[in-house]
Assembly symmetry: C2
Homo-oligomer: 99 residues x 2
């Protein structure tokens, strides 16, 4: 299992219609077939500068790659993510085990 | 539900006994009573500088606070986290919902 997460900050005003529209579009990424356990979050710690987060799990690297290359994901990145996200960080996890 | 996560980088060499000992101690935080869904991860994205992550869920702010104030957590922070972690970021999430 690979957990892909991203925290981000939008250029929109908090509570604005543009913010709402972005988050609605982001949540449609759940429909990409290899995505599991999709979650959309508000980021609430005051110890960083991000406002939202997405988290999703993939069963394999191939599933993760299929997501990255999926036309719906590419379109989302090009038409919404790049123009509307001002700051972000991707964090990907695999379960830790000794050895 | 509040999901508390932290990504971090240790001062130890990868695969060293010191690294192993730190991660074993970190995983004992699961025993603090208000902690749910505790997970210890390797961070595998090349788009950030962190090597490990912890994730845990709390049912309430009170449960989160109880964790922060728990003697086992305080001891872990003072004796291991502060001296052995060179870089970290805390990210806390609550589920996004409209309105």
């Amino acid at each position: 299992m690979i957990r892909h997460t991203v925290v981000f900050k939008l250029k929109h005003d908090a509570g604005s219609e543009n913010e709402l529209n972005f988050l609605r579009a982001a949540q449609k990424l759940v429909e990409i077939p290899t995505v599991n356990n999709f979650e959309c979050f508000r980021q609430v710690s005051e110890k960083n500068n991000y406002d939202f987060g997405l988290s999703m799990d993939f069963n394999s690297k191939a599933g993760y790659q299929a997501y990255n290359e999926h036309p719906d994901h590419i379109q989302f990145v090009e038409t919404l993510w790049i123009p509307e996200v001002v700051e972000f960080m991707e964090i990907d996890y695999v379960r830790y085990s000794e050895s």
